[in-house]
Amino acid sequence: MGDPVVVDRYPLELTVNGRRVRREVPGSRTLLECLRGDLRLTGTNLACDTGDCGACTVLVDGRPATACLILALDVDGAEVTTIEGLAARWHVRSHDRPPALHPVQQGFLEEGGAQCGFCTAGMIMAAAGLLEATPEPSEIEIRAGLEGNLCRCTGYVKIIRAVQLAAERMRVARREA
């Protein structure tokens, strides 16, 4: 009675946005808590905390995943990309100097794909993951790729246009490279 609660911590090693990080974390810590709390990367948002809304989507080893449903220790050793590191990821793939924005970010900016912005980081990460797996998606493939991400502002049309614009620009950039 009255004793402090002792929580076991375990070593965790991740590569987050190209940077190797080591932490000791409790077994119950989610990847999202780890990113937002331990690493102060608050661009990834916490909304439903049950994997329904997609606001916490990040890339784990290049594939979109809802960080709220993943225990950090389950992805020990993984390479994680968040919205903060997305532009640099595009840079690694095709440019000499890092651009300020990934083409998907630029697309959302130009097409008005971001309104209140709360779903935007997750939406952009899901779209970026989609374009890595499917570089030239049809509209249906874009919709399917973003089906796990909810947006209550835009009505999705501008988001889909943003992804189409990004896909087109990335296609041109690849051809020029």
């Binding site: 009255g2 661009g43 919205i83 924005l101 630029q106 959302f108 130009e110 309104q115 952009i124």
Partner: protein
Amino acid sequence: VSPSKGRLGTRESAGLAGAAASPPPARPFRVIGTRVAKLDAVEKVTGAVQYLPDLELPGMVWGKILRTRVPHARITRIDTSRAEALPGVLGVVTGRNVAQRPFWPSRLTSCAASVTRSPPWPPRPRRSRRRRAG
């Protein structure tokens, strides 16, 4: 299509009107008909935007709400001693250590508690059958 209507519409429709009635050439607008990025769009697409849960202020403390596991229950006693003894806990707030300022439903019930018989809350179904029948 009248020239004035053409000017209100898009440039394309103004062009169509021009073919028929040659209105003055549409003046290029600086904002209307152009794409204007939202002022905070860059913050939003880069994740730099700060929402309330992202803020951390000097001296900020964290709170946690403990909810009942029993619906519609009456609180008889809350033992906060173990929670207060935990390291780092600044305080435990219950109904006992906040000022009681009853508002709408709870105010009604607290007034009714002294008179009792029929509590005004929850409201009972109105009997209006007789009036409707007449």
